[in-house]
Amino acid sequence: MTSDDPQLRVSKIRNGTVIDHVTAGQALNVLAILGIDGTGGEEVSVGMNVPSSRIDGKDVVKVEGRELSQAEVDVLSLIAPEATINIIRDYEVIRKTRVQRPNAVVGVIECPNHNCITNAEEPVESEFDVLDEGIRCRYCDTILREKLAAQIRA
């Protein structure tokens, strides 16, 4: 790691997650997916439009004291398909993985169709199949391609 490494432009973290190679402009949506809005007291660093050799500009998000769940990584992959997840313990990267688009996303995205049964008072979780472009509600078939982050359940 050199001194001009983009990851060093924001402070290093001791324990937590560095989400690197996030599609430029999506950092705030990544925070939305993680349910981070600043009120929870989490220590977060964000780099936006950072030069990258792998993709045309990237965002970087560092979250102290939190390791992402698989469900969070699955949804992340939909808005940041090139992202890498670095799990940090005691300042060292102990695991580095590329996100992989899942076949389905369960329970984390609200169907934008207000008349979908998953938005009724019924014991059913939202479930979306992941398409090449966008996701499709397994119940009402609505295809969602834009504004995915806005549909993440609070």
Partner: protein, 300 residues
């Protein structure tokens, strides 16, 4: 068709459709020999939205197979009014009947309900989603009139909210059918149906005006503008009455054009068309009985 359920037309393969239609034709040719086939079988009719044709033809179909029906009745007189969930309702009804027919105003209701019951469940319409048993009788009627391959079909009217349209268009991708979709811009096919058609290798040909394609059509499938599904009455009024099929319209059509409609109609087909050779919509409605008899016999 998933084992035991009919929730969506997307699950119907060409072989599934042909099996049901062939079976329906056999039943229609000799209805008497099916009279005791399902004696003692009970079919539950659960309609959370109004229905005449679908409810009555399922009722007739089950009884003509020797079985009987139990009807949930009007929503206002059921426990739904007390706030009971659909999931609870179908789990209770499962104990009273051998199969269940469900119509519900929410898209995806049938798929969710099917996850809660083990008896066969037939989607008789879920909001603006799907109506696959209507599609089977539409295809039966179309096959009688024109065949299902090398056929050009125009689908006219409310393509956005019309659930019969969604199911029919997706099922026709299993056949060598060329489809034209005619509607106001605001009532075009939803993204998911377009996706399924294109994913199956079909082409979505869209028009606002019927006239340029009318003379190419073997079948014209007319639908009602679904007033009850519009979020705003003013949006409905903008498109209401946009299309009306009458003798003058049909003067430009081929002599052998078949006109179909899932019914009920409001004013989109003039009653003068009823007595022409083009009109197939009442026969189409009558075909609901043998086709639903075939479907029940195959699912039960």
């Amino acid at each position: 068709m998933r084992q035991g359920d009919l929730v969506s037309a997307t699950s119907l393969s060409r072989a599934d459709v042909e099996t049901v239609l062939d079976h329906a034709a056999a039943i229609a040719a000799d209805p008497e020999s099916w009279r005791e086939r399902h004696a003692g079988t009970l079919l539950a009719l659960c309609f959370f939205e109004p229905s005449t044709r679908t409810r009555m033809s399922f009722d007739a179909a089950m009884k003509r197979l020797g079985g009987d029906t139990v009807d949930m009745g009007h929503v206002e007189s059921s426990s739904v009014e007390k706030g009971e969930s659909l999931a609870d309702t179908v789990r209770v009804i499962e104990g009273y009947a051998d199969a269940l027919v469900l119509r519900h105003p929410s898209e995806g209701a049938a798929r969710m309900a099917a996850e809660y019951v083990d008896i066969p469940l037939i989607n008789a319409g879920d909001g603006a989603g799907q109506h696959p048993s209507q599609t089977l009788l539409d295809l039966y009627t179309m096959r009688e009139a024109t065949g299902l391959d090398e056929v050009t079909v125009g689908i006219l009217g409310d393509l956005k909210y019309g659930r019969t349209v969604h199911s029919l268009a997706e099922a026709l991708t299993e056949f060598d059918a060329r489809m034209h979709f005619v509607s106001p811009r605001s009532l075009r096919l939803p993204r998911s149906v377009r996706y399924d058609i294109e994913d199956a290798g079909g082409e979505v040909r869209e028009h606002e005006d019927l006239n340029p394609v009318l003379s190419d059509l073997d079948v014209l499938y007319v639908t009602r503008i679904q007033r009850e599904r519009f979020p705003d009455e003013s949006e409905y009024r903008e498109v209401a009455g946009k299309y009306r099929i009458d003798d003058e319209t049909l003067a430009a059509a081929r002599d052998d054009l078949t006109v179909m409609h899932p019914l009920p109609r409001v004013d989109e087909i003039d009653s003068a068309v009823d007595t022409t050779d083009h009109a197939r919509y009442f026969r189409q409605a009558h075909n609901g009985v043998p086709v639903r008899m075939a479907l029940l016999d195959l699912l039960l």
